[in-house]
């Protein structure tokens, strides 16, 4: 869709028209400001690469433009038209197309129907009745338009029968088919093989050639550098660098992504002489492995990696929540092969999953019931639970981790995120585990409460528990861990001792899959 501008387009020194103009756009979730852009212009005929760590604000920026995220304040103009906040329909009308990683496709419907979801083929003369021939022709034309051989994706087939790369290409064809002014590609090549990836990169260039603006969110720096005319770096929701490709060396980008703050803690010394608790050798699972790792009692092992690198899968596989397909584990010297999380719990493992609301808590139930569910058997007498026993056990648990609350009878959903998370730690401790598995232990917790969570993790390690903590926040890992395993495409790319670990060394291993010498080592300067 081409919207004729009513206002005169402003022209930049480059002689290019501005397609998207963002002014003072920001967005806050709870206490965290996830996006804060005083000023950003996207020009016609340019591919703009966007890079940043997890949580840097890339997705929020895309969502704000596409209307799936409602911005708190600020103005966005597309081709001179004001974009109302938080309406996907409005964004689509003004010519913004988002190709997301999540593939909003209807699996049961055919490829053709998905490509034309919500609209009629242009050459269909019927208003009510589906013109299948026209639909098929339009779909094939859309696939051909992105350079695909229409025979390679049969448009009559149900989408759910197609493999993931094909779905990604369909999603791209869907976005392209709207003839957008601003095309946003969110890590479009992460699920594609080299040939299809090439096709998508060509497509982005072609869009620029047709005077569209392209926002290319990339996970691979070399790819972004190869394709972009301009690279912007986001960190903590702010635009920290706006570079021409020749300025944007991989080193420079990583430095901008992680920032220059020094890690604010003196590295902890790992416990010495404690026995090995968990030994993983050759462990594989869906999207994971083979992985070899060991964790000692009293040690905190961090797991770093980009989105989809297998951080959570590793945690889940150890816990027994995802079936292992090969390899072996030993826990405290004994073979350990959990078939379900129950067997993991029995072997002395406690897991604190990533999503508090979905995976940990019954939000509307009282605190007392939430914190005692893993020890009900122990606090019951011959299978019978008295309310007083539950309440006193719950009080002991919440006191232990200092949950701030009025009474154990209030719903746990009425607590702050930090307090909820502490209650979950209390519940995990109550079961007396040997191994504590953490997945994003401070997600959705404000800064003050984070420090308190870190104290709890330290306390667990000091009491002799082994801790494995996966996190997307590098600062967090550097703060709490003794050692850090960096994952890349399901494997452990590097295991860094705390003294060698910097944000840069972690990021490099996570992005490239190779452990390289750290800058400090090169300078002969141990941290």
């Amino acid at each position: 869709m081409t919207v004729e501008p009513t206002l005169e387009r402003s022209v930049t020194p480059l002689g290019r028209a501005v397609i998207a103009r963002l002014r003072g756009v920001h967005k806050t979730y709870g206490p965290v400001r996830v996006l804060d852009l005083p000023e950003l212009d996207l020009y016609a005929g340019q591919v703009v690469g966007v890079v940043g760590e997890n949580g840097a604000g890339k997705s929020t920026l895309m969502g704000t433009l596409a209307g799936s995220v409602r911005r708190d304040a600020g103005e966005i103009e597309i081709d001179g038209h004001q974009l109302a906040p938080g309406s996907t329909a409005e964004s689509a009308r003004l010519g913004v197309a988002l190709v997301s990683q999540e593939f909003p496709l209807v699996g049961q419907l055919s490829v053709a129907e998905n490509l034309l979801l919500g609209r009629r083929p242009a050459d269909s003369r019927r208003r009510v009745v589906v013109d299948r021939g026209a639909q098929r022709r339009a779909a094939e034309a859309m696939l051909a338009a992105i350079g695909l051989d229409p025979a390679s994706i049969p448009v009559r087939r149900a989408v759910r029968e197609l493999p993931v790369p094909a779905r990604q290409l369909i999603e791209i064809a869907k976005g392209w088919g709207r003839d957008p002014r601003l095309l946003i590609l969110d890590e479009p090549t992460s699920s594609l093989g080299p040939v299809e990836a090439r096709l998508v990169l060509d497509l982005a260039r072609r869009a620029a050639g047709q005077d569209k603006a392209v926002l290319f969110i990339g996970h691979r720096l070399d790819e972004v550098r190869a394709i972009a005319d301009r690279i912007i770096v986001l960190r903590n929701g702010r635009l920290v660098a706006d570079l021409a490709p020749e300025e944007a060396s991989e080193d420079r980008l990583i430095r901008e992504m992680v920032g220059n703050e020094v890690a604010h803690s003196t590295p902890k010394t790992a416990p010495t002489g404690t026995p090995t608790l968990l030994e993983i050798s050759g462990l594989t699972a869906d999207g994971l492995g083979p992985v070899d790792l060991t964790v000692r009692e009293g040690e905190i092992l961090g797991v770093a990696g980009l989105m989809g690198s297998g951080r959570s899968r590793l945690i889940h596989t150890i816990a027994g929540a995802q079936p292992a397909t090969g390899g072996s584990m030993r826990l405290g010297g004994r073979p350990y092969a959990p078939k379900n999380p129950g067997q993991g719990t029995d072997a002395g493992i406690a897991m604190i999953p990533e999503d508090r609301k979905q995976q940990s808590l019954v939000l509307f139930a009282p605190i007392r019931d939430n914190v005692t569910i893993s020890i009900l058997r122990r606090i019951s007498r011959r299978g019978i639970l008295g309310p007083r026993r539950v309440r006193s056990a719950a009080t002991a648990i919440t006191d232990n981790v200092k949950v701030r609350m009025q009474s154990v009878d209030q719903p746990i959903g009425s607590l702050s995120g930090g307090n909820q998370q502490r209650a979950i730690f209390g519940r995990a401790f109550a079961a007396g585990p040997r191994l504590l598995l953490l997945d994003e232990p401070t997600r959705g917790v404000d800064v003050g409460a984070k420090a308190e969570i870190y104290e709890l993790i330290d306390r667990a390690a000091e009491s002799g528990m082994a801790v494995v903590a996966a996190s997307s926040e590098l600062e967090e890992l550097l703060w709490i861990c003794h050692r850090i395993a960096v994952m890349h495409r399901g494997r452990v790319a590097a295991v860094l001792e705390r003294a060698d670990a910097t944000k840069e060394s972690i990021m490099t291993a996570a992005a490239t899959g190779q452990a390289v010498q750290t800058r400090n080592e090169l300078n002969g300067n141990p941290t």
Partner: protein, 341 residues
């Protein structure tokens, strides 16, 4: 630019290459509806060979009338299930609709056609109310339609004070008791409803969008489909068809009797849909299967009657059929269904 060829799970096609017959067979096995249709044929042959009255014209006509009743309910129910909802009110509403039509017609002296139109209008309103509650207030479909079911049963009894309404206009009997050739009119209405539903679902944009809403509501919303309107429309269709069934029932009996009013029909309707391959998660199922599911259940219940099977066991048999159908569907989905839930 060279066009890369991407091979999407073509293993099926290449593996079954040896003969066209084998691939056709494979296609048939992979089609959810094929099993039900086959089961219909098998059931009919089996019953016919063991009871001669089974395939007599008279019995076929009885089956046609029965089928019209819960078959039409099953079609309406399926629309709701396709969006991932459920409508428990259809049996109760059908019952109330019959009483209402009689009440309008006899007690209020409305001419037959007007009474019928008024009844259908009331039912459509009930469906609109369901849709609105589900969409706007997020009431679970199960709950809101259960409310209607309960109210309908009570209303049917209180309107009539428990006594049947007699003296209905001729139009009711004409609709239910007459034949076109050897075929009873209600059976024709059933066929008509099926064809209309098939056309709506398979050949119109609205129908395809109903599938999209049931299959992935978020994708549908992002694509600009008015998801709420689509969902509401399915409740309206379901309730209106329930009203139609209610009218057919009183025509067949000649009186509007609150004590026989359509109770338990909703479960048979849901069973027919599930047997016919409709996924209770939404987005999946076709009219061919739904009709075949309804026909199969009718074949079996009537067949057991013809074989003089104890009435109590007939219900057991229906449950077993439902169980087998679900099992077969799951097994089939495991092998052929892609990402089918």
């Amino acid at each position: 630019m060279s066009a890369p060829t991407l091979t999407p799970a073509d293993a099926a096609d290449t593996a079954a290459a040896p003969s066209a017959a084998a691939s056709l067979l494979r296609k048939l096995v992979a089609t959810p509806e094929a099993g039900v249709v086959l089961a219909c044929v098998v059931a009919f042959i089996a019953f016919s060979s063991s009871a001669h009255t089974y395939y007599s014209t008279a019995n076929l006509q009885v089956m046609g009338r029965d089928l019209a009743q819960f078959g039409i309910l099953a079609v309406g129910e399926s629309f709701v299930i396709l969006t991932g909802g459920i409508d428990l009110s259809v049996g109760g509403l059908a019952g109330l609709a019959g009483i209402l039509a009689g009440w309008f017609n006899v007690t209020h002296g409305m001419p037959g056609p007007v009474a019928i139109a008024a009844t259908l209008l009331v039912c459509a309103g009930v469906g609109y109310w369901h849709g609105t509650m589900v969409n706007k207030l997020n009431v679970p479909p199960f709950v809101i339609t259960l409310v209607t079911f309960t109210v309908c049963k009570g209303l049917a009894l209180s309107i009539t004070s428990g006594t049947p309404i007699t003296g209905l206009s001729n139009i009711f009997g004409d609709l239910s008791l007459y034949y076109a050739g050897p075929v009873p009119i209600p059976a024709l209405i059933f066929v008509g409803v099926c064809v209309a539903a098939w056309f709506l679902l398979e050949r119109t944009y609205v129908g395809r969008q109903i599938y999209a809403v049931g299959g992935n509501a978020e994708a549908a919303r992002l694509a600009g489909i008015p998801t709420r309107r689509r969902v509401t429309s399915t409740y309206v269709i379901s309730s209106t068809l329930a009203g139609l069934v209610g009218i057919l029932i009183i025509g067949r009996l000649g009186v509007a009797d609150p004590s026989v009013a359509g109770s338990g029909y909703e479960l048979t309707a849901i069973a027919a849909a599930v047997v016919g391959g409709v996924s209770l998660f939404g987005g999946e199922g076709r009219i061919v299967g739904i009709a075949a599911g309804a026909i199969l259940l009718e074949f079996i219940s009537n067949g057991l009657l013809a074989l003089n099977v104890n009435e109590y066991y007939q219900t057991v048999a229906q449950g077993v059929v439902l169980g087998v159908a679900i099992l077969a569907d799951r097994i089939r989905a495991q092998y052929f269904g892609g990402n089918r839930r």
